[in-house]
């Protein structure tokens, strides 16, 4: 029972990295299939579709960042890891926005990226506009990242 605090905090960090990573892997994979379809017939569009393919990959990085900050705060990366159960649960809760929003936004962003890849395929000169549609989904991943970071640093000062 005395180690439950660190357990929950670590579980939160793991969920953040895991769920955002899964979302990004699925998203980048799907967008990659669409990109490969375009490049098969027109290799000159490789650089444009590659950028669109990578857009759903950012959630994985945000999840990793939250996991890293949490590990630093709870002493896993060095220092004291004596965390109360209450604080452990708070860290767990703080990681959840990034975990869930990261998973769902990456998959939804991949749908928008696939549609934008189709747009670039037909109208390569519209690449700038095509970038904006999947980038809009990024807003919500960034909001979740922000709230998770603020929460984690807030818990430390409690």
């Amino acid at each position: 029972m005395e180690n439950l605090g660190i357990f929950f905090a670590l579980a939160g960090a793991a969920c953040s990295a895991l769920m955002s990573g899964i979302g990004s892997a699925i998203g980048v994979g799907r967008a990659g299939q669409a990109a490969a379809g375009v490049v098969t017939d027109d290799p000159s569009k490789f650089s444009k579709v590659l950028i669109l393919q990578l857009l759903p990959g950012t959630q994985g990085i945000y999840g990793l960042l939250i996991a890293f900050i949490t590990l630093t705060q709870i002493g896993i990366m060095g220092g004291s890891s004596d965390i109360s159960l209450q604080k452990g649960l708070l860290y767990f809760a703080a990681c959840m926005p990034m975990a869930f929003v990261g998973l769902i936004s990456a998959m939804q962003q991949s749908n928008a990226a696939i549609a934008s890849i189709a747009l670039v395929n037909k109208k390569p000169d519209q690449f700038g506009k095509a970038m904006i549609f999947p980038a809009m989904v990024e807003t919500y991943a960034i909001l979740a990242l922000l709230i998770s970071i603020l929460s984690i640093f807030g818990i430390a000062s409690l």
Binding site: A34, G37, V38, D41, A115
Partner: protein, 321 residues
């Protein structure tokens, strides 16, 4: 919910769609002045090579469509809705060949769901059990009818109805809304054309009851009643259905009606141009290719025979892109 099973395939098809023929291109073919000039334009567009005949070019284009689809979709049975009509064409050919005797090379077509050679062997030996289950009964009935009555038209009607019903059912079984719609529209359009032709040639109610396929969007009984009555009654019935647009085309000519049926299908598949997921954009591409090949065939035939522009324009179909 997006179907993520065909992302690569749809992306490839989006690239291919850029090579589909446009309305201005078809107009340039129409005004090219001769079949040779039209073929030159087609060659420049990537259709066939210099020296190939019109029929060779069109055949090759049809094959190219299935080559690319075969490359993208491992299990082509999802497109049985398009392929089953070839089976019934082959069945019709096999029955007529068996009844008339001798062999007639070139009467069978490929891209069916059942090998034409096996069908030929089964029909000539009257081993209908060797055929796919749903073909057995119509095949036996059509062959008996032809042998007993020597009425080739009645034999065709039995098999055409079976083909329409097979297409409709394959569409329903595909699990794709677009393919189900294609199956339904094919059956309905087939029924309307049969009803109009039967009315014009004075066929009776009994013939119509044999020839008309059942479909969800038309009441074949009421259609048969109307068609056996008068053209006005037929138009009045169609006006009460989802195919009221056919009435205007029907007033012009049978060609206009056929064009209206194909244009309706193109209109229904056009939303697939912006759909990035699932099987439907692939099905739409197959239909678009079939329709453009049909349009090119019409134009080349009209140019070869020196038909007036109005005849050509009445028949050329709408384009997908």
């Amino acid at each position: 919910m997006a179907d993520h099973g065909y992302i690569y395939a749809v992306s490839r098809i989006r690239s291919r769609e850029q090579q589909l023929l446009t309305t201005p291109f078809l107009e340039s073919l129409e005004t090219s002045g001769s079949e040779e000039a039209a073929i030159r334009l087609l060659n420049e567009h990537g259709w066939g090579t210099a020296g190939q005949s019109a029929e060779e070019i069109l055949e090759e284009e049809g094959r190219k469509t299935w080559d690319v689809i075969g490359e993208l979709v491992k299990d082509l049975s999802v497109f049985n809705v398009f392929r089953c009509e070839n089976d019934y064409h082959n069945l019709k050919a096999a029955i007529k060949e068996a009844c008339t005797g001798g062999t007639h090379p070139g009467i069978y077509v490929g891209d069916g769901t059942y090998p034409a050679k096996k069908m030929e062997e089964a029909v000539s030996a009257r081993e209908f059990a060797a055929l796919p289950e749903r073909m057995r009964e119509p095949a036996e009935r059509a062959m008996d009818t032809l042998l007993q009555t020597r009425d080739g038209q009645l034999c065709d009607c039995i098999l055409d109805r079976a083909a329409l019903e097979a297409t409709r059912d394959a569409g329903r079984a595909s699990g794709s809304d677009l393919l189900a719609l294609y199956g339904e529209l094919t059956a309905a359009a087939g029924d309307i054309k049969i009803a109009v032709r039967a009315q014009r040639t004075g066929k009776d109610r009994e013939f119509l009851s044999i020839a008309l396929a059942d479909c969800g969007s038309l009441d074949s009984g009421r259609l048969a009643d109307a068609a056996s009555d008068s053209m006005e009654a037929l138009a009045a019935y169609l006006d009460t259905t989802a195919y009221s647009g056919a009435v205007e085309a029907l007033k012009k000519s049978l060609c206009s009606l056929e064009r209206w049926c194909d244009d309706l299908m193109i209109e229904k598949i056009r939303p697939q141009l912006t759909n990035c997921f699932g099987l439907d954009p692939l099905a739409a591409y197959i239909l678009a290719r079939r329709t453009e090949i049909k349009s090119v065939r019409i134009i080349l035939t009209c140019l070869r025979n020196g038909c007036p522009d109005s005849v050509m324009r009445e028949r050329v179909r709408a384009t997908y892109v």
